[in-house]
């Protein structure tokens, strides 16, 4: 074995000059890392699909609550988008509003608001969600809390009256419905036509009614029956008082199943969250059905379905591991039940999810799956 002597300069030259045409000049080729093909999924597609999944419930809420609901949705969403655009432009970065994440945040926030919320609630909420819920952390992907829910919690604590004034579902076109002009007046001035007052059409949410009356010593049946006349049918269909997104459990669940089908979300969070709330509901209902309402009531009233399919599943603020997602979902559900039953507020979805958001980094760290070729023991 002999190592050959190096070539002379002339050898090298003749060799290189033999190199004639290349198929392609090297500079024009891209040589980024593998894989060289992509499945085509994108952030805008995800956001777009989620917005699409929310549309049936959103449209129904407008039908049920009338023109003011449309204004609430439009103002909140627009504020969120404009805030995002301006804030990112301030940082001299390209505007990300095309990824639709701000629009989705705005829409989700709107769905947690009372249907006749005044304009400034929408604006303050939209700005809070994007500014303090998202951009201060560095924008999309870096926020700790669900931006829509942290904004709702902020509004609920700061403006309890405006945030808990629930209009009776008056419909968009029915005889009780507000005219388009009245709706504008209501949202922007707080008054409708002269002489009318808000109380005339306001009503308690089923969860609120249950908590208030039961705390006064009545049974669940007395609380929801009588004048209140709670109807499972109306609650499922969305024809009861509540936030815009507490309307139709049915349509929201349909949207959730659409997201599952489209593989935007997995079953882990929604299912575990529903179970986390409904299993204790079954237990306590069986223990004392006069003090604790049945699980169906918990499922179709309030924001449980919206929370389970659209809020807790917010990608940025939920765990990425399957086990972490199950623990996260179940804890959200359990906390919701605890707050609804014994807490200071009749509804606990937003608090439950915001509290659990803080546990996400911990969950992700301690629930990593056992990888291929390892067992739990030697992992």
């Amino acid at each position: 074995m002999t190592i050959p002597s190096r070539l002379t300069v002339s050898d090298t030259l003749s060799f290189w000059t033999l190199e004639t045409e290349r198929a392609m000049p090297p500079s024009s080729l891209s040589f980024t890392s593998s894989p060289h093909v992509h499945g085509g999924d994108s952030i805008p597609r995800i956001m777009h699909t989620v917005i699409l999944a929310l549309m049936p419930a959103t449209l129904l809420s407008i039908l049920v609550f009338g023109w003011p609901a449309l204004w609430v949705i439009v103002i909140t969403t627009l504020t969120a988008v404009v805030t995002e655009h301006l804030l990112v432009k301030l940082r001299l970065r390209p505007s990300p509003v095309g990824d639709l994440s701000a629009a989705l945040t705005g829409l989700l926030l709107a769905l947690t608001l009372p249907p006749h919320a005044p304009w400034w609630i929408c604006v303050v909420g939209g700005i809070f969600a994007i500014l303090l819920g998202k951009q201060v952390y560095g924008g999309l992907g870096y926020n700790m809390f669900n931006p829509a829910l942290i904004a709702r919690v902020f509004l609920l604590i700061s403006f309890p009256v405006e945030m808990t004034t629930w209009p009776h579902p008056v419909g968009l076109l029915g005889e009780e419905a507000l005219a388009f002009g009245d709706a504008v007046a209501l949202i922007f001035t707080g008054h409708m036509a002269p002489g009318e007052v808000m109380d005339a059409i306001s009503s308690a949410t089923p969860l609120g009614q249950y908590r208030m009356e039961v705390s006064l010593g009545k049974t669940v049946q007395e609380a929801l029956g009588g004048n209140y006349a709670f109807s499972y049918f109306n609650a499922t269909g969305g024809l009861v008082a509540g936030s815009l997104g507490e309307t139709s459990a049915l349509l929201l669940a349909a949207g959730g199943i659409f997201l599952l089908k489209k593989r935007i979300i997995t079953w882990h969070i929604p299912l575990s969250m529903l179970a986390g709330c409904l299993i204790p509901a079954v237990l306590f209902w069986l223990i004392d059905g006069t003090k604790y309402p049945d699980p169906i009531f918990h499922l179709i009233t309030g924001g449980l379905v919206l929370g389970a399919f659209f809020m807790a599943t917010d990608m940025v603020t939920s765990p990425v591991t399957p086990l972490g997602q199950i623990i996260f979902g179940a804890s959200c559900g359990l906390l919701t039940y605890i707050i609804r039953t014994w807490g200071g507020y009749p509804e606990g979805i937003s608090f439950a999810i915001v509290i659990m958001n803080t546990a996400v980094p911990l969950l992700d760290q301690y629930t990593r799956p056992v990888i291929y070729g390892k067992t739990r023991k030697n992992a």
């Binding site: 198929a23 890392s33 593998s34 894989p35 093909v37 992509h38 990425v320 990593r368 291929y372």
Partner: protein
């Protein structure tokens, strides 16, 4: 027959990239006209480079040795055609950083004449298993699926391991590639012959050929070829990338998982690529070493997609030209498949033993959009066949938290690219993992070096302490002698003044040595002092 699971198992995750196999799946394997020049790299395999054994100006036959195996894990390199050695020099090769490598340049004489000395064995079963392994080693056969691990090693399992199953990897899960499928359609008998040789070499009784269901013709051909042979089974596998990865294939067929950091033989399985089986058959039955391979030339940028039998050392340029050239909107030229292949900086580089495909992708076909922040959607977690958490790994690599990476099992990543394929934020995850691995390896080397330096400096300090002790002892002895002398002979003032001078000098020297201890924690400083220290006693 217990090792093969009765029902096919599923591996975790995986993706379904678009196949694009229709471009070439009906293209019969065609020969290529002899190129003007062949540039044969001396390192085409995993392990040590080969050592050149020819000189410039030498005339060689096809199949003559150009480079001898350079270590245990290494492979021989042979002349792909007959001709003259024109040069032995550095030339660009398929390397992620565009590095050059020592190559043997051959000017073909056009005769393409095999060395007449190369003889095959008609009935390989007459050969001893070790003789088969030696011939496979001598023929420079490496895994042709792309990993290019020397094949003879995988046919020499350790004595304490039992091999229950020879698993033939004919999955070809990479999109676009059809070279293995065509090989099975056109030479099924040779595949079986190669399997027979490997079974004999391994002394194993059972073989499974795993083929994905999207290659019905190959499955039919192989089933026909093994008809009546109950020890070789063809198994049709549901299509799922990366099923062709050794670990995943083993899990699907046997239900067993190769232990982390372990080898397939740990679960009683040996995996070989189907093209390797044919190469082994050619070596044993015909005597031909590995000098050519089948390459799928395809993609939207190739004028005439084809399956071509290419001599090792043929330039990618020549192959592309043979296939009608590149279309003008080509964006990427890739060696290998689109999921794990290597994007080339330039096209004047040689085809090597591991080149299963030459892909020219247009902008529409290839990825390359801007990276967005991770939205933690978890798609990568669901896609990872190893069940890693890719987004966390990428975050640690991106933010240079290198120490965290081994804790999230970075080195178990097979770089299949499934995570990056599904990522909606277009994060080049595999790129970050490679960066992390390389940085960790570099750090590991650095740490070893530091440990060695520390060990050396400690040894030096111990030696100096020993020397000091020795001197103290001698001093004591001298004092004792003096005292004895004094008491014996009586006092002498000259001797008395001389003694402290000597001891003072010794202490001073000892002091210098002790001072250097202060820098003991800092290797570079210490290193310099070590050099100084060693010269001290000789002063």
């Amino acid at each position: 027959m217990g090792i093969v699971a009765s029902v096919l198992k599923k591996f975790h995750g995986g993706v379904h990239p678009t196949g694009h196999k229709e471009l070439t799946e009906r293209c019969a394997i065609e020969p290529m006209p002899m190129p003007e020049r062949l540039i044969v790299p001396l390192h085409q395999h995993l392990g040590a480079p080969s050592v050149p054994v020819v000189q410039v100006g030498d005339k060689v036959f096809k199949g003559d040795l150009l480079g001898a195996s350079g270590g245990f894990v290494s492979a021989a390199i042979h002349a792909p055609t007959s001709g003259t050695i024109q040069a032995i020099q550095e030339h660009p090769v398929g390397h992620p950083s565009g590095l050059t490598m020592l190559c043997v340049v051959i000017a073909p004489d056009g005769a393409d004449q095999w060395n007449p000395g190369l003889k095959g064995t008609a009935d390989p079963t007459t050969l001893d298993p070790s003789a088969i392994r030696d011939r496979i080693k001598g023929a420079g056969i490496v895994g042709l699926g792309g990993a290019t691990f020397p094949s003879f090693i995988k046919l020499s399992p350790p004595r304490d391991k039992v091999v229950d199953l020879l698993l033939i990897n004919a999955v070809e899960c990479e999109p676009y590639l059809t070279c293995d499928a065509r090989l099975m359609e056109e030479r099924p008998q040779d595949v079986v012959a190669g399997i027979r040789i490997m079974l004999h070499a391994l002394q194993t009784k059972q073989c499974v050929i795993g083929i994905e269901a999207n290659k019905p013709k190959a499955i039919a051909a192989m089933e026909k070829a093994v008809a009546g042979q109950s020890d070789i089974r063809v198994v049709s596998l549901p299509v799922m990338y990366p099923q062709g990865s050794e670990k995943q294939l083993i899990e699907v067929v046997t239900g067993r998982q190769v232990p982390s950091k372990g080898l397939p033989v740990d679960v009683g399985v040996i995996v070989h690529n189907v093209a390797t089986a044919v190469a082994i058959r050619d070596t044993i039955e015909l005597g031909h070493p590995l000098v050519s391979r089948i390459v799928t030339v395809t993609g939207g940028g190739i004028t005439r997609p084809a399956n071509v039998e290419v001599l090792i050392g043929t330039l990618v340029d020549d192959v592309i030209r043979h296939c009608g050239g590149l279309k003008s909107h080509t964006k990427k030229v890739i060696m290998g498949g689109p999921m794990m292949g290597l994007a080339l900086h330039q096209t004047d580089i040689p085809v090597v033993k591991g080149t299963s495909g030459i892909l020219a992708l247009t902008a529409e076909e290839s990825s390359g959009k801007t990276e967005h922040p991770c939205i933690r959607c978890g798609s990568c977690v669901n896609a990872c066949p190893i069940q890693l958490v890719p987004c966390t790994m990428a975050w640690f690599a991106k933010t240079d938290q290198i120490d965290q990476l081994p804790k999230v099992d970075l080195f178990d990543c097979i770089e299949c690219g499934s995570c990056a394929y599904v990522c909606p934020a277009n994060i080049p995850l595999v790129h970050y993992f490679r960066y992390g691995k390389l940085t960790l390896q570099a750090k590991d080397r650095e740490d070893k070096k530091k440990a060695l330096t520390k060990q050396r400096s400690q040894a030096r300090e111990e030696r100096l302490a020993r020397e000091k002790e020795e001197k103290e002892r001698k001093k004591e002895e001298m004092k004792a002698k003096m005292a004895a002398k004094k008491s014996d002979v009586g006092s002498s003032s000259e001797v008395k003044t001389g003694s402290p001078t000597v001891s003072k000098k010794v202490t001073a020297k000892g002091g210098t040595a002790t001072d250097s201890k202060g820098g003991g924690d800092d290797p570079p400083v210490d290193h310099a002092k070590t050099a100084k220290g060693t010269s001290l006693p000789e002063e």
